[in-house]
Every structure is written in structure tokens, then in C-alpha cells.
Amino acid sequence: MEGNKLHDQASYLRNALFNQGYLDEQFLQLEDLQDEANPNFVEEVVNLFYTDSTRLIRNIELTLDSVPWDFEKLDNIMHQFKGSSSSIGAKKVKKECTKFQEYCKVGNLEGCMRTFQEVKQEHATLKRKLENYFQLAREAR
């Protein structure tokens, strides 16, 4: 039956996200909060994250482009970004954020810029994967 197939595909995608280290147990925590009253809670939180983090990414870009280099400001913005990533269980994104902050602390601009590319990449990859997953999960209902 088509419904079961979709359901299986959604489960497969979801398991892959965990197995491949894109998501951690905090995502499970969000899933536990989803109920009949809030059937789209997880997706809402994730959408909120992506709206918010896009703004933070823009702020980082602007700050990286400015002189003199303001590592404290970069660190502060990244702290916020990392916090939100952590709250949705975005494991790989969070890891790259940590690396970025380490470069901030030693004032290594080149390291920051390089890691920032990784942050953006992981951020975009997860977005794509979650979008696919949520779409399938919705169709499977």
C-alpha cells in the first residue's frame, strides 16, 4: 500500500539522519513534545531555527567583511547560532559552530572564514534533508 511505503521511506530518512550524525537526542526530545494539539511542532521549531539562523549567518558575513576584525562579536553571534542549533539537535552544525568559536578565541580570521563555510554547508545540507523528511512524513500521515 502506498501509505505504508511512504511511511517506511519517512522512517528510513529519519533513521539515516540520526545514524549519519546529522541529528542528536535533542531532536528526539522535540518529537516527544509533538502531540495532537501541536502535530507540526517539530517542523515549526525547525522552520523557526532556519529563519532565525539565516539572520545570524548574515550578521556573521557582515562582521567578517568589516575591519577591524571583531572576534568578540563573531563569537557572540556564533554563540547564539550554536545555541539554537543545539536546541533542535543539529549535531553536525553545532560541531562546526564550536570550531568557529575556537578560531575566534585565538583571533584566527582565516580559520574563522574556512570554518564558516563548513557551518553554512552543514546548515544547508540539514535543511534540505529535513525538508525532504517532513514532506514525506506529512504525505505518509
Binding site: 522535540l30 513534545l33 521549531v45 531555527f49 532565525d52 554563540h79 547564539q80 536546541s87
Partner: protein, 173 residues
């Protein structure tokens, strides 16, 4: 502490009102949901200043804010721009009217010195982010556990801290 002749209705989980303070949009949404799941009423704000306004603890002397709302617990992020969670904690604990309200601090950083500092200043608990359901469930004991029972008067009713009179709250500088 403000005394009153009111008869407070017995505290019921559904009446517990938590003031959540966090500058992160995502975290506010999550903490709000977590608290609703344990049947609390939630007011979520994005700054310490706004939290003080909600409480009715204003910097302007003598003002009893029209949006002063009874709050049973404050849960606040530590790192916030402007007023930090620690500064908010100090303001609340430094107020004779509000110091009885339990304050819980949340932080993404598990730094012992920070935890100690908060507990010394009177924080009830310190939660390391990301916040989970089990963390929030633990809060119930501050809201209607032993801490609350101590504040019951002879009639077995809870004293609400309420601002009736003009507030001459002296805040620490």
C-alpha cells in the same frame, strides 16, 4: 514582604504561572512547549528588562506596573544581551517583594564557577541547555513542593506576593 488579607485559592498545577526569559526565538518556543506540557501557564519574554516589567519590578520608583502579573517561577537564560540572567536574578532576589519567587537559570555552558555564583545569589536551580522535559519536570518541586509548603499560613493557604501599595522597592545599585 507584602502582607494581605486575601484568601488565596489552593495552588493547582494548572494555575502555576512561569515567566520564561530567553533572547533566543527557538529556545523560547521550546521552553514554552515544555512548560505547557507540565500544565503551567507561560509568559515568554525576550529580555530581563521585559521580565521586570511583567513582574512589576520597575526601575521607576513608586510605579506599580499595569502589567504586573503574579508569577510563581522565573526561568531565565544566563547569556542575554543587555541584562544577563544573573543580573535579573540579583534584581529579583534583591527585592523584598519578589525575592520569594524561585528563579532557575539556564545556560549552554556547564561552568562550575557560573553555577556556584548563581546558586549563591539565590537561584533555585541551574539547567544546562538544551533543556529537556526531565529538567522541567524537576521544576515542579519548586512550584508546589516543599518550598511552597513553607509559605502556607495557618489556614493552610498560600501567601501570594502581591503589590497593593506603592512600591518602595530599593534595588541594589
Amino acid at each position: 514582604m507584602a502582607k494581605n488579607g486575601d484568601f488565596s485559592p489552593p495552588l493547582d498545577p494548572h494555575e502555576v504561572h512561569v515567566l520564561a526569559v530567553d533572547d533566543s526565538l527557538v529556545d523560547r518556543k521550546v521552553i514554552e512547549k515544555l512548560l505547557r506540557i507540565i500544565s503551567c501557564k507561560v509568559t515568554a519574554v525576550d529580555s530581563g528588562i521585559r521580565a521586570l516589567q511583567i513582574l512589576g519590578l520597575n526601575e521607576e520608583e513608586g510605579s506599580v506596573g499595569y502589567d504586573e502579573i503574579k508569577v510563581d517561577l522565573v526561568i531565565t537564560d544566563y547569556c542575554m544581551p543587555g541584562m544577563t540572567g544573573y543580573e535579573l536574578l540579583k534584581k529579583i532576589k534583591g527585592s523584598s517583594t519578589f525575592r520569594e519567587i524561585p528563579v532557575v537559570i539556564m545556560s549552554s555552558e556547564n561552568v562550575l564557577a557560573r553555577i556556584d555564583r548563581c546558586l549563591e545569589e539565590g537561584a533555585e536551580d541551574f539547567i544546562v541547555k538544551p533543556v529537556k522535559l526531565c529538567d522541567v519536570e524537576r521544576l515542579k518541586s519548586y512550584m508546589f513542593g516543599e518550598g511552597r509548603i513553607q509559605r502556607q499560613n495557618a489556614n493552610g493557604e498560600f501567601n501570594k506576593t502581591k503589590l497593593h501599595e506603592t512600591c518602595n522597592v530599593s534595588l541594589p545599585s
